[in-house]
Amino acid sequence: MDPKVIPNTPKHASSSQIPPPPFSLFIPTNNLIAMAMAIKLPLILLFFSSSLIPTFSLFEDQVGLMDWHQRYIGKVKHAVFHTQKAGRKRVVVSTEENVIASLDLRRGEIFWRHVLGANDVVDKIDIALGKYVITLSSEGSILRAWNLPDGQMVWESFLSGSKSSKALLTVPANLKVDLDSPIIVYSGACIHAISSIDGEYLWKKDFASEGSVDVHQLILPGGSDVVHAVGVTDSSQFDTYEIHIKNGGLLKHTSASFPGGIYGEILPISGDRFVVLDASRSVLVLITIENGQIHLEQTHISDLIHGSSGNTVILPSKLSGIFSLRTDNGIVFIKVTDEGKLNVMEKVDKTVVISDALPLSEGEQAFALVQHGDGKIELSVRLVHDMSSNHLKETVKMDHERGFVHKIFINNYVRTDRSHGFRALIVMEDHSLLLLQQGEIVWTRDDGLASVIDVATSELPVEKIGVSVAKVEHSLFEWLKGHMLKLKGTLMLATPDEVAAIQKIRLQSSEKSRMTRDHNGFRRLLILLTRAGKLYALHTGDGRVVWSTLLQSLRTTSQQCAGIKLHQWQVPHHHALDNNPSVLVVGRCGLSLTSPSALSIVDAYTGKELQNMGPVQHSTVQVISLPFRDSSEQQLHLLIDADKRAHLYPTTPEAAHIFQRESENVYWYSVESEAGILRGYGVKKSHSSDTPSEYCFETRNLWSVVFPSESEKIIGTVTRKPNEVVHTQAKVIADEDVMYKYISKNMLFVATVSPKASGPIGSATPDESVLVVYLVDTVTGRILHRMTHLGSQGPVHAVLSENWVVYHYFNLRAHRYGMSIIEIYDQSRAENKDILKLIVGKHNLTTPVSSYSRPEVTTKSQSYFFTHSVKAISVTSTAKGITSKHLLIGTIGDQVLALDKRFVDPRRSLNPTQADKEEGLLPLTDALPIIPQSYVTHSFKVEGLRGIETVPAKLESTSLVFAYGVDLFHTRIAPSRTYDSLTEDFNYALLLLTILALVVAIFVTWVLSERKDLQDKWSWPQTQLWLQSSSEQRLLNICSTPVNMFVNQNR
């Protein structure tokens, strides 16, 4: 196969308007009578008016009609309250999705939000000068200040260090703007001082020259000009440094060696006291700095707490004079007295979560504890100086499905009676964020939805028959009223109030959010698996959460379990109709591929866990949904473990029987990207003795494709969606020729690049980067097609559908992104054109399409430029596959662009012939057009876009689109417009009015003609006279006209 590069087509004026689809309409030119013209004219007009509009477009007032957009932030890592001033109270948070956001403390809404880059992990946040949010990110190398009210970035400073280290941030606490105390940052083994006003770099103190000191704490005592840095050298020596805040000069350095070694972090107790664990985790070391000397004091934990083992950790909550220790038995608070003695104060349960200390007015400090009870949580606030009693104790009812409390942040406010009130922001196990105040949940945010891993859909229950007459009458009246309002709107007669009412009716149509199945299949449940191990069901109509379940199967073990896959388990259609549909969640307990897996089956209507197969013995590397069902319509699944054994689910004899019968036809493949090998497998028919159960099958390797590791590295594979429907196998082209699509469910697209070019853009020259793409049959391992793109590299995003694959890559020679299409056709059926042969039966159309046969295939391909980077690419899918397709491209700007498949057609040519034009082929352009109106997300952004899922609606023209990332977005699109239904905008009132007008017109003309008739009869003699006087011709003439027909007949 010849290597193909992007064709050097001459520059075309890339018009943003899609040319009208050709229509062959016979336009009469000779002197036909006017009637014929009158019929054709509106037809022509109709065609013109419909063909010029881009295929996907939206009016501004249609936003929210069939789409919804939800904004999230992710699991909160840090939170800083800003409540000092009167006015808007807010909390600034940073999250695990690299989001920094300012939230309204009253309602939990987002004031502003920024999503940082994927590698720009936020380390610390704080508020400086009372007006800037300071963020330290990228392992402490980027310091940014954001304007607190509107989120505009004010300044940015890049901090370069000598080696990587942990990142610490200290912001001067005073609120006076005139006092310019710098922000002190420790990162990259250096201490940096940065002006908080404009980000100016003041000084830097490099610790790399001081030996390998690892600084653990930076302390900025109020009112002094000295920064204290406490660190450890080679985990056996404590060092303290005093550094002048204005110039970075080293004032004092003291050190003390501690041969035992340390474990974990040094925790400050007060300005001159620190505590740390030794390496064996059995001795507490209290560090006291006195008169420039370091005193170390060791206390055995077993002396303080009886019966504790080695798994002791000092909790990082900073409470002055007190620290907390977590042992196997629970959490212990230990007070450090002025004399340096350690006193155990209290023991609490292990699940208790402790906040940092919050300074109150009179030098007092308070902190909060949260304890989890049954269906409730207990929040208690204590004063550091008076640990004996709870300052405040509240019990809050808590949904079971939110799990345990993971983090707590507290903030105080002064009540009217000058006492302190507290509000607590808590982060739950399911990543949701709640604000508690006065024993109640003020608001909640379901931020677990920011980390969707997998998506499945489910039908809604069928509507129960039986509707009351009153309801129908009421709804009919409402319906008519609504349409009259709409009519007023279109005729520009509506008042502003009415316009608002119209918009409200349109947005809150109860139709779209009902909990029953609809005829068009627009109402569905989107079932989302999140990283927190929680399953959510969202209604496609309005995006509300119908149910949510924290999966118990992923919580049972102590290990970190996470869901990885979501599959349809049971979709009752024919037999088990009284069962609800259900989904299968496959999880993994542990980080490696060989960790045991957890399975659970969840009812899609209620969210109940029907079956909870805790940690099962085998691991799961791959989940294969087999196209077989048992009598209760449960889908058979094969789970492939790390040892390449296949485990069959459901584990019933019936399923095993079905599988045994079909096992000869079960094949799968694995992609080993690191080794560069594709392997195909089949199931061994006979049971070997060492398989653990009868539902476990040995497999055999059937074929392997090994890519040469020195020249090719696998960077992406894509296969067809298993549930895709293809309407026709044949494609009729212009000259009444037929091409047969090569449609195989077992086609795999593989992209490889030369190893040098596997890095980011710019790391390889065009000469050393080669992109090779393959189409591989996964049953036989046959390579159907291979194509080389010289001077191109990844990342490759691809989508495979029907008989074509579209992929996006980077073209280094042109330094632009490229997009190519390969269409694959079955050559062996190409002879089936002869009608005679078809009649006689000498054709091979009835032979089944099989991967065993080796049909001859031909391919067509073409390449184009594409402007943007791409994050995800998908294609619309419809119920029967008749409707033309749109590519859905998630761009780097987190928008989703719908691109008509007609633009990526390898048969486009520079000068299309007449026949091509008639077929609808567009003239070739070098770049794919980006039409702003065809962004399905219109003016929204799906921040942090990760995937686009399409689900066919029951209505053939329509496809449901769900895009997820940090945000969620759902809409439905009709690639060829809604040719099979009236649009939402269709005005029934106008139709009724027209019909009414026509009826009235009929009556009026009838009355008029009656009257005329009568008149004619009265004036009969005169007419006769007149007739006689004129020629016979004229009479005939009058009689043949339709209006005078009445006269003619009545005579």
Binding site: L45, P932, T1041
Partner: protein
């Protein structure tokens, strides 16, 4: 504009930065062994050059290096910078909702640091300095045309009514004014041609 951005150089890394800043206003790459820095500016027309000149919707503007390798944000005056960038040919994309920006190809030379070449990839136009302006606005919505009588007339129902009017009122007039000879001729002709037009299918009177 040519306003020299007085960036604050971190002593070792950005030492060279100030030197180059003197003669190139905004497209600068400097660095030592660890990498280079690229500074540039995004200008959105219609807003002033000075001060807080960015419109509210540009608040969420992002500048993206190499398809997501680094992401940075705009300062109030529209400036942005990337740090620790390796030498080579890079791609910078600007993402502001409502505007279409061409990606920019930036060559950072390792041999003579500070030399930067930038070109828009969409129209291959070279840039003297890294000032990025949108190629065009993006309008995501169709504009709803205000109500006019023509839209009613053009709608299918309007056409239906129009056709009825034509048939009922205009046709008799038309036929009346025609010469009877011509009508007969036309009818004759049509019969001969055998064109299956609607007129032929209509029941004839008389």
């Amino acid at each position: 504009m040519a306003a020299v951005r007085r960036s604050k150089p971190n002593p070792p890394t950005l030492l060279l930065l100030l030197v180059q800043l003197c003669f190139l206003s905004s497209s600068i790459a400097t660095g030592n062994g660890s990498g280079y820095a690229i500074n540039g500016r995004v200008k959105i027309p219609g807003f002033s050059d000075k001060g807080f000149g960015l419109p509210v919707k540009a608040n969420n503007a992002k500048v993206i290096l190499n398809g997501g390798q680094q992401v940075t944000f705009l300062k109030p005056d529209g400036y942005f910078s990337f740090h620790n960038v390796p030498a080579g040919t890079l791609l910078i994309e600007v993402d502001v909702i409502g505007y279409f920006f061409s990606p920019v190809r930036v060559d950072v030379s390792a041999r003579n640091p500070g030399k930067v070449q930038a070109a828009l990839t969409e129209n291959r136009r070279g840039l003297n300095e890294l000032v990025l302006e949108p190629l065009k606005d993006e309008q995501y919505y169709e504009i709803r045309e205000p109500f006019n009588i023509m839209s009613i007339v053009k709608s299918p129902m309007g056409l239906m009514i129009g056709f009825m009017v034509v048939v009922v009122f205009l046709m008799p007039k038309l036929v009346e004014n025609m010469d009877p000879e011509e009508i007969r001729k036309a009818q004759e002709e049509m019969r001969n041609q055998g064109v299956p037009s609607l007129a032929n299918l209509m029941p004839r009177s008389g």
